[in-house]
Amino acid sequence: MATETSAAPPAGERKANRLGLTLPDYQGAASTLCSGCGHDAITNQIIRAFFEMGVPPHMVAKLSGIGCSSKTPAYFLNRSHGFNSVHGRMPSLATGAMMANRNLVSIGVSGDGDTASIGIGQFMHLVRRNVPMIYIIENNGVYGLTKGQFSATADLGSKSKWGDENQQDPIDCCAMAVELGCGYVARSFSGDMKQLLPLLKGAVAHKGTALLDIVSPCITFNNHEGSTKSYKWAKDHEMPLHEVGFVPYFEQAEVDYKPGETRSVELPDGSHIYLKKVDEDYDPTSREQALVTLLRAREKNLFMTGLLYANPKQADFCTQLNMMDAPLAGLPQEKTRPPKAALDAMMERLR
């Protein structure tokens, strides 16, 4: 089908990663979203992050719910298994898939409607359990696929395409995630590739739930004057907390590391995120500072981006379950059916 053919790789992208795979091995079907959609920019950074991190595509599970954002897993990592499910329920898919095969790399793409409205319960419980996965919210403050209704992340006073003013305070998924103990919480902008790429790589290196709330303007329904999720508004108002750099564990790199100016966070696989001070010093390991910063951003309507909170050490859900190291899905019958003697003993007990 015409809509499913892969785009040709740009020249100069034919070099191999540490697995010997090239960038096209990480691409997906051509996007069917509106031309200029912020989501496509994020898709491209996901492709690049997974390629550069050398994630084996066959180990990836791409998961989503319903909405424009939820279509995007079809547009990257063609070699991976994908599951586009029901509205707001992607977190339960991730939980089930990771229980079945703890070695998978799960990436879920959701939207602000899919997560902050219909799926907020599952989102919160996924974060609470610390299910290992990369959770991306492509946040445009609007329902795109149903043509322009406000979502629960629309800012107070933001205007719809038809001039209606949003009367309610937004739900801040990052604040909620920090509150619930998420160990990797970032906010970014689809137009800020320089920041988005290292944050995505850091999410790959993280072991529990990694949340990226990415403002991704809807070119068709929320890109007008008066919207606080338009390209122009986001570009004009983005306030990076720091410059983000990333060095994977498998690369030796010289880092321009000046104490007092740069903070480093070691991730569970040995990779490092480097955060270079922009304005004030920001400590991403402080839950308190993260919450205060997010509260300030809400009160003053500031668009602060960067790694808001990092706590890479807590046990993820699969570790909590104390499962075998091998995926449960592949265990042979000898491991999963107890011997006859066990049943006989049980019958004796019930006599």
């Binding site: 499910s85 319960g121 359990r129």
Partner: protein, 610 residues
């Protein structure tokens, strides 16, 4: 109290009634009566007499009335018996209702602290028991007296009915195997009750338990535990659930058995994962994704959970993901009566979710089948790549049943059509939704399969045979037609019906699940009392196979027996029959109390005009 209007005749006891009567104990829930009642049931079982127990309990933790019915029957009838022979009244809130409901000639044991005037029913056989005095004399610690009061009536009944005291002591020791102090305490009060009865009562009633050898080798277990055990021996790897009566104990038993049997001795690591989800939407989502990723996954729930799972179940059907749902049915609609039984979700589960959907259902009738069908359900789910319902109900799931010991499953697990990387190299081509074998069941791959063509995209939206997004009418129809053919394939894979054909019989019964025992007993009643032979087809699964139609063809009138208001199974059957549908009649019970044989027999005779 209508019984008072009729002239009451004093009871004249003639011949003893041995091993054929029912006992009902009315207590307050949360008072520890469950243990006492189970010990009484087990004592009769250990005497070799077939027995069944039904717990009628409130949706409440403590303080509301609860009744426990035990039926002892030498012929092995284990359905609930509607008529009571012996009543034990412990609850001030229900004592007068309980007494009024007794038939003339019945026995009534009551707590002497209740304001009962025996002259209100001169047609009963009375025993007045001073529980407070007996417990005070036998249990030195006042704090513990409340806990052992109920075991005293077991001691009294042991003496009265001729149950060997040692059998009850044995049962108590088994029950409190890890709590010897509790065992001793209970045994003390049990003996006190027995000794008091021996010293103070005079046997006035005809009911007796005498040793038989009809329970040798058998076990006692509830259907939920049996299904849980069946799952563990079927290699379940993922359990996701949300607590709801009457299914919670299925999951809790499963976790207990998994922890016992499925932890690797060397590493201490588990060959399973279980999670208590935030709701039923999440639990079924986890099951579907775990099945998609290759696990043997299940959940257990009841009516309200089934309603919540509807959208995801449709996804499981359309995207073709394996998963098992144990539906321990309770009385609906809405919250309904959460602690009462019903076969009320037949229609909804057959077609759960929007659009054209159909799901296989299995109908275990006893603990043996709960165990066996749990195993069958996982095989079917993976073979058919779909959600399979195992339809228990509260009566089966939560009551203790006498059962044959379970047979170890010797058939290897059927993991269905899954292509490995080696397979993919061999076949060279993979299209997720193509019917390669002509049985309408496609091949699948699992995430993590290291092969460039292994990956595919699963979606609940339109897709073609290659699993690509498609809105083309032909692709949609092609897929839906294949799914319908797959359901036809299922007819030959699910357990077939059990048929007992009576030569020359005009009448046939069709029943399923927990209506089975009462149906069998009704057939015997009709044979013995009216010389009417009735054939019997017991459904074990949906979709049905050709035997159903043939059975109907062989009879003039066929009665579908079920425990719901609308004749849900009758309707499903009617859809299969064509003109033969005119032969179908319906016998139903839907008051939340398990069906009994007399109800079926009377209904049949009335509809037959006899």
């Amino acid at each position: 109290m209508s019984t008072l209007a009729a002239p009451q005749k004093p009871v004249k006891v003639t011949a003893p009634v041995v091993n054929d009567f029912s006992i009902e104990i009315g207590t307050i829930n949360g008072s520890g009566s469950q243990t006492a009642n189970n010990m009484l049931m087990r004592s009769i079982f250990q005497m070799g007499v077939p027995v069944s127990g039904k717990n009628l309990f409130p949706s409440n933790i403590a303080g509301l009335p609860t009744w426990f019915t035990i039926r002892a029957n030498k012929d092995g009838y284990i359905a609930r018996k509607a008529e009571l022979d012996v009543a034990v009244c412990m609850n001030p809130d229900t004592v007068f209702e309980d007494i009024a409901a007794l038939r003339p000639g019945a026995v009534c044991l009551y707590n002497d602290e209740l304001p009962v005037d025996e002259s209100i029913r001169t047609d009963l056989i009375w025993y007045r028991i001073p529980f407070a005095k007996i417990v005070k004399d036998s249990c030195p610690e006042p704090k513990l007296r409340r806990l052992v009061t109920n075991i005293i009536y077991v001691g009294v009944l042991d003496w009265l009915l001729g149950i060997d005291l040692e059998e009850t002591e044995k049962a108590l020791k088994k029950n409190f195997v890890k709590k010897p102090k509790a065992a001793d305490l209970n045994i003390g009060s049990l003996r006190a009750g027995y000794e008091w009865a021996k010293a103070n009562l005079q046997k006035k009633d005809p009911y007796r338990i005498e040793r038989l050898n009809k329970t040798a080798g058998k076990i006692i277990i509830d259907g939920n535990a049996a299904a849980a055990l069946g799952s563990v021996f079927a290699g379940v790897t993922v359990l996701a659930w949300y607590p709801i009566t009457p299914s919670s104990s299925l999951c809790e038993s499963m976790i207990d058995y998994l922890e016992e049997f499925r932890v690797d001795k060397e590493t201490g690591k588990k060959t399973f994962a279980h999670v208590q989800a935030e709701d039923e939407l999440a639990s079924i989502g986890m099951v579907i994704a775990a099945g998609w990723a290759g696990a043997r996954a299940c959940t257990a729930t009841a009516g309200p959970g089934i309603s919540l799972m509807s959208e995801f179940i449709g996804l499981g059907y359309y995207a073709e993901c394996p998963g098992v749902v144990f539906n321990v049915q309770r009385t609906g609609p809405s919250t309904g009566l959460p602690t009462r039984t019903m076969q009320g979700d037949i229609a909804v589960c057959a077609n759960l979710s929007h659009g054209d959907t159909k799901h296989p259902m299995l109908f275990p009738c006893n603990p043996e089948e709960s165990f066996e069908m749990a195993g069958v359900s996982f095989d079917l789910a993976e073979r058919l790549q779909t959600i399979v319902f195992v339809m228990l109900d509260l009566d089966l799931g939560m009551n203790n049943w006498m059962a044959e010991p379970f047979t170890y499953p010797d058939k290897p697990l059927d993991r269905g059509k899954v292509l490995s990387a080696v397979d993919l190299n061999r076949v060279g081509k993979f299209e997720r939704y193509r019917d390669v074998d002509g049985d309408a069941i496609p091949y699948r791959t699992l995430p993590g399969t290291d092969h460039p063509i292994a990956g595919y995209f699963t979606r609940g939206s339109g897709h073609n045979e290659a699993a690509k997004y498609s809105e083309k009418p032909a692709d949609y129809k092609n897929n839906m037609d294949r799914l319908a053919r797959k359901f036809d394939t299922a007819r030959g894979l699910v357990p077939g019906p059990v048929i007992d054909q009576v030569p020359e019989a005009e009448i046939g019964y069709i029943a399923f699940g927990t209506s089975h025992a009462a149906t069998e007993e009704s057939r015997d009643q009709l044979k013995a009392e009216k010389s009417i032979g009735v054939s019997y087809l017991r459904l074990r699964a949906y979709p049905f196979n050709a035997q159903l139609k043939e059975f109907v063809a062989r009879h003039k009138r066929v009665y579908v027996i079920e425990q719901n208001r609308d004749g849900q199974m009758r309707d499903l059957i009617a859809l299969e029959l064509g003109p033969e549908v005119a032969k179908i009649r319906s016998i139903r019970k839907y008051d939340g109390i398990p069906i009994d044989a007399r109800h079926i027999t009377n209904e049949l005779l009335s509809q037959e005009g006899k």
